[in-house]
């Protein structure tokens, strides 16, 4: 027997794994299922199992004897081997303290305890193991009551071990943050539970709502539930998806939660405020807000297809609202352009959301001034019609259009041929006065806009430049330049000169040979050295440019000219003795007046010089255009004799003679030296002669006024035309010498001999004597050549009889309009000279 056992023990050692299956595989001969109900209880592995067993009895005087716990195996051996209880409670000697607890060390050991004091009584098993699961039978023996068998099926639950959440790519979710996903995308989130028995339920929850309880068995130990969320929406942002795995309600399920992050498209993009008209070139601030985008978008500004950069953006603290502020300066070209605010993000799908404004840019009118169609600005000449067109760009539209010519506002003027018609200007029969700079000015609420200056160049035939010296005096043998200056457009001119010699007879030809010509742009200069009287006369000059030949020539008169004559009849009005004596006293202020002599054919001036008679020291020096001077008082200390010397001068030189007055300071003036007196007297004689002649002239003027009044109705322009003819026909323009003129016309020499009486006798004059004579011989001319003497002009008019007034005009350079003349002379006529 013991040998067999040794063998058996050897086998036992070899097959140690068999020992664990003692309870399960053998010892069972009967499943004890005779209508004994089986109740269920569950316990979580590692936890506590409590298996109830009713040990109460209804009978009096009954007693609990014994409680035996068996565990039924799953397999029977068919061999009648006894089943040993796993736990026994022996209360036959007293159910309380005396009760014997016994445990089978191989199965429950110290983990089990049967507590009869609970109701119902329970077999408590600590640290429940997987193998503890099974059917437990509790047999309760009473002293009186029938034995009670009850069966409890203990299910040991092994909770799932762990959960893993993976996205559609199979990646584990980092930091429990899912995504970010794009709005509208779908989400496939798999939750895999590992381990657990029974197979755990794997469910998806959001808050307290069950989303998905369709789990599937992947393998024996893995259960998966794939949560699919179609079309993720804004409301899913920060949604917490919780995966739960549970196979019992005894312990809390294990769970894993992930939070969804989303990229969201903006809800709206809006340019804030009202799209009002804006002024060009003024900085504008405009804001655009983008709401609802996540992450914060980039806001881009566009003007049409041009991106604008001068913008700053801010995002609210919650990230929901992003505002961009743009500063830009609209230009007038931006009118009608779209100002676009666009929300972009690398996380958003195009097309991006945008808002736009159509810009209404108001601006000062922008004006372009051009010459009308079909017209060439470079080829406008007098007589043409000019059409200027003003092209306006303005917003709002202009309410006024004005035109300026050379800075002056231009109005319609029918007589001048100017017609202003809003944006167009028409000038009919343009003249050179219309030349110049034109601008067009248009006004709207934004301001006044000025066009480009348009220079209208009017081409015209040359004309004589007004204001030229037309009468030139020259001494014989004096080289004289006659400058003919014209105005012309274009400036390129050729000149033609025609000379009407004073001597006549020989015609211009001989005279031209003596003349040298020089041309400098619009100025032609004839250089003449009159050798004889025939060399004086009228010089006519025509210029020609591509437009044509000058219509009216420039006419210049070269006349003989020399130094002026000495003054005469000098008086000192506040000198009582001055009337009959040449001496005066200088007391206080003194006026000295003289009569002017012949100016020598040129403008003359007058000089007064005050000398100390003794020391010949120059005390005063006065210059005046007329022989009239005022002497301020001299200091009292200078009480002595003084000499006043007065003479005339022009650019040919000073008068031959000097009139000298002697005065005494605060005393009677001493009589001047005899020499002076001698000199003075002949002049007085001559003056007296002239005064006589003047009386005659005054009479003649009276007659002339009468005659003129009879023909005053004829226009001046008409009269001027024949005057030219007469000029050309009459070469005798050398001034007449009054009563001496008959001889003077023929020869200068004769002319010079005219005022024979004035020839100074004093040897003092010497060689210059001739000049003095010459001066005096021209003396009658003084009256008409002297520009200031209108009376003299009329005298000439009268005496010359022909060509009358025209002659006056010619000789009157600088020309002065006769102030009482009833017939207006046109400026045009005047400028011809």
């Amino acid at each position: 027997m013991s040998r067999v056992c040794v063998i058996g023990l050897t086998v036992f050692i070899a097959l140690t794994s068999c020992t664990d299956q003692e309870n399960n595989d053998i010892g069972i001969i009967d499943t004890y299922d005779d209508k004994v109900p089986v109740s269920d209880t569950r316990a979580v592995a590692g936890g506590v199992a409590k298996i109830p067993c009713d040990v109460d009895t209804q009978l009096k005087d009954d007693q609990l004897h014994l409680v035996l716990w068996y565990k039924e195996g799953e397999k029977g051996m068919g061999v009648r081997i006894p089943l040993t209880p796993i736990y026994s409670f022996d209360g036959r000697d007293g159910a309380d303290e005396a009760a014997q607890h016994w445990t089978d060390a191989t199965s429950l050991g110290s983990r089990a305890f049967f507590n009869v004091k609970e109701s119902p009584a329970k077999l408590t098993i600590d640290g429940v193991k997987d193998k503890d699961g099974g059917v437990y039978r509790c047999r309760v023996d009473f002293r009186k009551s029938p034995t009670r068998n009850s069966r409890v099926n203990l299910t040991v639950i092994i909770p799932p071990e762990r959960l893993s959440v993976v996205d559609e790519k199979g990646d584990h979710i980092q930091h429990y943050i899912l995504g970010p996903y794009s709005e509208g995308a779908s989400l496939d989130l798999a939750c895999i539970a590992t381990g657990g028995r029974p197979t755990p339920r794997v469910t998806w929850w959001q808050e307290n709502a069950l989303l998905d309880d369709s789990w599937e068995l992947m393998s024996e130990r893995r259960v998966r539930n794939v949560l699919r969320v179609e079309k993720l929406q804004r409301r899913h942002l920060h949604a917490v998806f919780t995966c739960q795995a549970s196979n019992n309600d005894l312990v809390a399920p294990i769970s894993s939660a992930v939070t969804l992050d989303l990229n969201l498209n903006p809800l709206w993009v809006k340019i804030l405020g009202e799209n009002r008209p804006i002024s060009a070139n003024h900085t504008q601030e405009v804001k655009c807000e983008v709401v609802g985008a996540r992450p914060a978008p980039h806001i881009r500004w566009w003007k049409g297809s041009l991106m604008l950069y001068n913008a700053t953006q801010q995002t609210s603290s919650d990230g929901n609202r992003t505002t961009s502020t743009l500063h830009y300066v609209p230009s007038m070209e931006d009118f009608g352009e779209k100002l676009i605010c666009k929300a972009t993000s690398p996380f958003l799908k195009e097309p991006f959301l945008e808002d736009s404004w159509t810009l209404n840019v108001r601006h000062i009118p922008e004006i372009t001034l051009e010459v009308g169609k079909g017209q060439n600005l470079t080829s406008i000449k007098e007589g043409d019609d000019v059409h200027l067109e003003c092209t306006i760009r303005a917003n709002p539209w202009v309410y006024r259009v004005a035109w300026e010519h050379n800075g002056k506002t231009l109005y319609s003027n029918v007589s001048d041929g100017v017609r202003v018609n809003n944006q167009s200007l028409i000038i009919k029969n343009v003249s050179r006065s219309h030349a110049g700079v034109y601008t067009c000015i248009a006004s709207n609420q934004e301001g006044d806009g000025q066009s480009n200056p348009l220079v209208v160049d009017v081409k015209f035939k040359p004309v004589c430049r007004p204001g030229q010296q037309t009468v030139l005096g020259a001494a014989r043998l004096e080289k004289t330049e006659i400058a003919c200056e014209v105005e012309a457009n274009p400036l390129a001119v050729n000149f033609t000169w025609k000379i009407h010699p004073g001597g006549g007879g020989e015609g211009g030809k001989s005279a031209e040979e003596k003349v040298e010509f020089d041309v400098e742009k619009t100025r032609s200069t004839a250089v003449v050295t009159p050798m004889s009287v025939t060399d004086f006369g009228q010089f006519s000059c025509w210029a020609t440019n591509i437009i044509g030949r000058q219509q009216e020539p420039c006419v210049y008169k070269l006349i003989p000219a020399g130094r002026p004559e000495a003054v005469t009849n000098c008086t000192v009005p506040n000198d009582e003795t001055g009337a009959d004596g040449e001496e005066g006293e200088l007391e206080g202020r003194m006026e000295v007046g003289c009569e002017a002599g012949f100016d020598g054919g040129l403008e003359q001036s007058f000089q007064l010089e005050l000398y100390d008679s003794d020391s010949h020291q120059l005390l005063r020096n006065l210059t005046a255009p007329r022989p009239s001077f005022i002497l301020d008082p001299l200091p009292a200390a200078d009480s002595r004799r003084l000499d006043i010397q007065i003479y005339a001068f022009n650019h040919k030189g000073r008068s031959q003679n000097t009139t000298t007055l002697r005065v005494h300071n605060s005393n009677k003036a001493e009589r001047r030296t005899a020499a002076v007196t001698v000199q003075f007297m002949p002049l007085i004689g001559a003056v007296l002669g002239i005064v006589g002649a003047l009386v005659l002239i005054v009479l003649a003027v009276a007659l002339a006024i009468y005659l003129k009044s009879r023909e005053s109705t004829s226009p001046a322009s008409k009269r001027s035309t024949p005057s030219l003819d007469s000029l050309e026909k009459n070469p005798d323009l050398i001034p007449h010498c009054n009563e001496y003129q008959a001889s003077a016309e023929k020869d200068v020499d004769k002319l010079l001999s005219c005022p024979e009486t004035t020839k100074p006798k004093s040897p003092f004059f010497g060689e210059k004597n001739l000049e003095v004579i010459q001066t005096e011989s021209i003396l009658p001319h003084t009256s008409f050549l002297h520009a200031d003497s209108s009376t003299a002009l009329h005298i000439l008019h009268q005496t010359n009889d022909e060509p009358g007034q025209e002659f006056m005009t010619l000789s009157g350079g600088p020309w002065r309009r006769p102030s009482p003349s009833p017939a207006p002379s046109t400026p045009a006529a005047a400028t011809r000279f």
Binding site: V79, I81, D141
Partner: protein, 269 residues
């Protein structure tokens, strides 16, 4: 399987050795499968303590204890009332229980459970199912037959057993041969009467063929059985009718003078 066998062999050997000294063994459990109402039945449960002290022998019917034997108790036997279980304590001890006056309620699962003393309280138990039968008080009855049949006639008869529980099992024989089930109609059960007793009805339908008269008359037998404890039959003989002769009905078993053999009334094996 190999593993299983090795373990089995190992434990078997060890059991011999290990429990040979103090291992409880249930050697015999005898419970009649079928018993007749009103009779007695002896339940036997023999065991080998193999050195263990006996703590208890308990008998259960359908999980309810009705008899115990505990040597330490006084009295050592104790009975508990259960429907259909009437223990004759004088003839009951640690190894047997005598049930008397069996009733239909005596049907059930009987378990014998033997436990050794503390501390291990080794326990062996085994069960057996017993059905207590109420026998019919009459044999099966054949109805619907005619005295004469011609070849080609259709025979249509019923066999009805007497009231019993469970209802009797009926079998038809033609000329001693068991009838193919294709000619059978049923079996049907009558509506249960008092105590749930029922009749069984089995119909027989077939066309008369010349072979049925080979050896003279046509013999129709109905056999009623209940398990192995009841066996009773009834037989009718039908005369074959010639066309020129007027048909004469010859019933062998009419009324109480039936020729049917009462094979077995009651049987207790």
């Amino acid at each position: 399987m190999d593993y299983y066998w090795r373990c089995w062999v190992f434990w078997h050997l060890c059991a011999i050795w290990n429990y040979g000294v103090n291992s409880l063994k249930l050697t015999t459990l005898h419970i009649e499968k079928h018993t007749v109402r009103g009779n007695n039945s002896l339940l036997e449960c023999r065991f080998d303590l193999e050195g263990e002290a006996l703590y208890s022998v308990k008998w259960y019917k359908d999980g309810h204890e009705f008899f115990r034997y505990i040597p330490k108790d006084y009295p050592s036997t104790q009975t508990f009332l259960l429907p259909g279980v009437k223990v004759d304590r004088r003839h009951s001890n640690e190894s047997q229980v005598l049930l008397t006056d069996l009733t239909l309620a005596s049907t059930g699962r009987y378990r014998c459970e033997v436990s050794a003393e503390a501390p291990s309280f080794q326990t062996v138990s085994e069960h057996g199912d017993m059905v207590t039968v109420a026998l019919p008080n009459e044999g099966p009855v054949i109805t619907g037959g005619r005295p004469r049949y011609q070849v080609g006639d259709k025979v249509k008869v019923n066999c009805t057993s007497g009231l019993s529980k469970p209802p009797a099992h009926l079998t038809w024989f033609i000329n001693g041969e068991q009838v193919n089930s294709s000619f059978l109609r049923g079996p049907f059960k009558s509506y249960p009467e008092e105590e749930g007793l029922e009749r069984a009805i089995l119909g027989l339908e077939f066309q008369v063929e010349p072979k049925h008269f080979k050896s003279g008359d046509l013999k129709l037998k109905c056999l009623a059985t209940i398990a192995t404890i009841y066996w009773n039959s009834n037989e009718e003989s039908v005369e074959g009718e010639k066309p020129q002769r007027a048909p004469v009905l010859e019933v062998k078993d009419t009324g109480h003078n039936s020729r049917a053999d009462r094979v077995q009334g009651q049987s207790l094996h």
